[in-house]
């Protein structure tokens, strides 16, 4: 065994405060780095959102301002968008209703003209103008609410225009309530919260976000569970049933009567 020198022993021995010092250094380093990182991140998001708003403003000026005005204050051709909120933009542009293809009784659904990033940018710009309904958190769009409450709320609040099964219906002067099958939950929510076109606004006092989620739940239930009775003939009620029995029921039986009374050749 080699003899251990006092120097070696000294050099091998840690200072009693070394651990504490190391801890302090470590904490300072990570804390500092974290602080540095977070401040730079905040700066980045601010920059990003500023950039988003700026980009949204540009998109707005290029695509929307001819009707809504450069400051979105509205013109004769289109309403003011001050205070409509990000959700209104998300609904109108996200369903393709805006920009409108042609002026008519109401804006029609058509293929969406922008990417979701562009829509978000415009929504951010419009939301900057004045406070308004924002895009709701995911938990109100999940469609995991109570379908029975949703169905009842739907019958009371929505069915007179949209039909009990969400098949749509007529309004005055060529306007109509569209069918609701296949509509994205965020757009269903957006329509309720912002009241696009002829639709009334159902704000959070009227229908709470949870109730809106219940309605979404019901609509998704109807969509995902086809009629147990067979083909639903458009869920339009007795009119399509009447047409069907006259054309296919009675028509088919008349064909049978002609067959039965045909002279054999």
């Amino acid at each position: 065994m080699a003899p251990t020198s006092p120097a070696a022993r000294r050099s091998g021995r840690r200072h009693p405060l070394a651990t504490a010092a190391l801890l302090v250094v470590g904490l300072l380093a990570t804390g500092g780095a974290y602080a540095l990182a977070t401040t730079s991140a905040t700066a980045e998001t601010t920059a990003a959102s500023e950039q988003l708003v700026e980009e949204g403003g540009k998109l707005f000026a290029a695509n929307c301002a001819s009707c809504h005005g450069l400051q979105a204050a509205g013109t004769e051709a289109g309403p003011s968008l001050i205070g409509v909120g990000a959700l209104a933009v998300d609904f109108q542009v996200g369903t393709g209703r805006m920009p409108m293809a042609a002026s008519g009784p109401q804006a029609e659904v058509k293929p969406v003209q922008f990417t979701q990033e562009q829509i978000d940018a415009m929504a951010a710009w419009v939301a900057e103008l004045a406070p308004g309904p924002a895009v709701p958190p995911e938990r109100y769009l999940a469609g995991d609410g109570d379908a029975a409450i949703g169905a009842e709320l739907f019958r009371i609040n929505c069915a007179m225009c949209h039909n009990v099964a969400g098949a749509g219906g007529a309004l005055t002067e060529g306007k109509y309530a569209p069918g609701l099958a296949g509509v994205d939950p965020v757009h269903i929510y957006g329509a309720m919260a912002t009241g696009p076109q002829n639709m009334p606004v159902f704000n959070d006092l009227n229908l709470t976000p949870e109730e809106k989620n219940d309605i979404i739940t019901y609509l998704k239930y109807v969509e995902e569970n086809p009629s147990v009775g067979g083909f639903d003939l458009g869920s339009l009620g007795p009119v399509s049933e009447g047409l069907f029995i006259w054309i296919f029921g009675l028509g088919g039986l008349i064909a049978v009567t002609i067959w039965l009374t045909a002279k054999s050749n």
Binding site: I156, V164, A170, G174, G229, I245, T261
Partner: protein
């Protein structure tokens, strides 16, 4: 074999059934596809009776409120009447229940539709003429009863749609001046909707109305046998005979087979296509009304009348509100139905024709009647289409106001246009028939004559074909004649005027002489 012989003998000795079987079995029914429409109605009624009996085993018409505990998720925990709950149970819990419900409802729609078409066939071929006027009236009553049965049945599930329908009926009743509110309370037993209406309608739907309907069907059949069936003119078919197949065995076999075909078509439709998805509508609640709320098709004309009448037609007299916007459609429809019921008597009076008719007319050979029928169909169709005005607007991308105004035009002016067009078309067709009977039909064979001229060869019809074109009756307008006291009454003048309107424009049938002179 020995057993059947013994059994037949046993029954015959005790019931004298053989006389009836002999008489009925030799009954002749003529063959034409349009003569089978009434059969469609009869057979779909049998289907309704069978499926309806199944439904009564499980349906409970009580309006007691309960909470839904069935398997349809979007209704769980919702308070509703027992009637609606049991309808949902039939649809979701009872084996075969939904199929039976759909068979019942589809068969009901087919029942009324085939009655309607059967009535049109009888009307347009003049098969309601003497001696069949009473059977026409019985048939008309069957049509009205079918509508009443349909409506009471539509109301039974006590879902939103049926409640909305009852609300309209309640509104129409309340529009009746003075007595309206009293009648409404009598019917509903309370302020609408009350808790009595569903059990009451149930009794009407499964007891009273079907009993009357079955009795009238019996009378309709007996009169059909007594009067014999009409037939279209043809060689060997005269006003005094019936040419066709005897009931035993040909017609019975054919009709029996046809019954199963009708049954099959109904079950096929019912198994593939949803009808009245009551679970979508939810329990009745007076506040919501769904878009696309319509009655079943046969009540559509009444709904359409309410949609077409201009709004705000109301006057207040001595504190009573007269809702003309409800009363005018109500009275108008009653007049329309009464005119349909009484048409055979009106026509008999106008034509003064007291003979028996067993030959069905081709519609073109009675242009005025056919034109009146077309006008009636147009009027009905305008009202009918109006019941779906909202769906027409959305599906054809029109404004609902435009649809309503267009249908108002169709309903009011359309019948006149239809009348004139149909009458002209009938007369033109009669002229064409006359032309073909006399000069033959264009054979499509072009011949060049030695002189260079081209002609198309016309070929004569054979006697069987020609018969159909020339054998119809010719009517003359009635002359105004003084009565026994030497006076011409106003009644006479009206009748002569109507008769002139009926028969003034006519094409005389080809006479034997004309035919012979054509045969060079």
């Amino acid at each position: 074999m020995r057993f059947t012989g013994w059994a037949a003998n046993y029954i015959d000795e005790r019931t004298s059934a053989s006389t009836a079987v002999k008489a009925l079995g030799r009954k002749i029914f003529p063959d034409h596809w349009s003569f089978m429409l009434g059969e469609v109605a009869l057979y779909s009624f049998v289907v309704i009776l069978l499926s309806g009996t199944f439904l009564t085993f499980f349906f409970d018409p009580s309006m007691t409120e309960v909470e839904y505990e069935g398997s349809y998720v979007p209704l769980q925990g919702i308070p509703m009447s027992v009637a609606y709950h049991s309808s949902l149970d039939i649809s979701f819990e009872i084996r075969g229940g939904l199929l039976m419900r759909q068979v019942h409802h589809w068969a009901a729609l087919l029942f009324v539709a085939s009655i309607g078409l059967h009535m049109l066939r009888v009307f347009f071929t003049g098969a309601f003429r003497k001696p069949r006027e009473l059977n026409w009236v019985i048939g008309f009553l069957l049509f009205v009863l079918a509508m009443a049965l349909g409506f009471t049945g539509y109301s039974l599930p006590d879902d939103l749609l049926s409640g909305n329908g009852l609300r309209i009926i309640d509104g129409m009743i309340k529009a009746v001046p003075v007595a309206g509110a009293w009648i409404s309370y009598l019917l509903f037993g309370d302020e609408f909707p009350g808790t009595d209406i569903i059990p009451r309608l149930y009794v009407l739907h499964i007891l009273l109305l079907p009993a009357i309907l079955v009795a009238l069907i019996g009378a309709h059949m007996v009169l059909l046998i007594v009067n014999k069936h009409t037939q279209f003119a043809g060689p060997g078919r005269t006003n005094d005979n019936v040419v066709g197949a005897p009931v035993m065995p040909v017609f019975a076999a054919k009709a029996g087979g046809f019954f199963f075909l009708v049954f099959g078509v109904i079950v096929l439709i019912a198994s593939l296509f949803t009808i009245n998805p009551i679970w979508n509508y939810g329990p009745y609640d007076p506040s919501p009304v769904s878009a696309g709320t319509q009655p079943d098709w046969y009540i559509g004309f009444a709904d359409g009348a309410l949609r077409l009448i201009p709004p705000h037609l109301e006057t207040v007299i001595f504190g009573y509100t007269w809702s003309w916007n409800v009363l005018i459609p109500l009275v108008g429809l009653l007049v329309f139905l009464a005119a349909a019921a009484l048409y055979p008597f009106l026509e008999a009076w106008v034509t003064g024709d007291k003979r028996e008719h067993h030959i069905a007319e081709r519609p073109r050979n009675n242009p005025t009647r056919t034109a009146i029928g077309a006008a009636g169909v147009t009027f009905y169709a305008g009202l009918w289409a109006a019941a779906s005005s909202d769906l027409i607007a959305t599906h054809f991308r029109l404004s609902i106001e435009g649809v309503i105004h267009a249908l108002q035009f169709v309903t009011v002016v359309g019948p006149f246009i239809a009348y004139f067009i149909t009458k002209r078309v009938c007369l033109a067709l009669m002229r064409k028939d006359r032309e073909i009977a006399l000069h033959g039909y264009e054979s499509g064979r072009i011949v060049r004559l030695p002189g260079g001229e081209y002609i198309e060869v016309h070929e004569q019809l054979d006697d069987f074909e020609r018969w159909k074109l020339v054998s119809y009756e010719e009517y003359q307008p009635l002359m105004v004649r003084p009565d026994a006291r030497g006076r011409i009454t106003a009644r006479q003048r009206v009748r002569a005027g109507l008769s002139r309107w009926f028969f003034e424009d006519r094409i005389a049938p080809v006479t034997q002489k004309e035919l012979e002179s054509q045969r060079h």
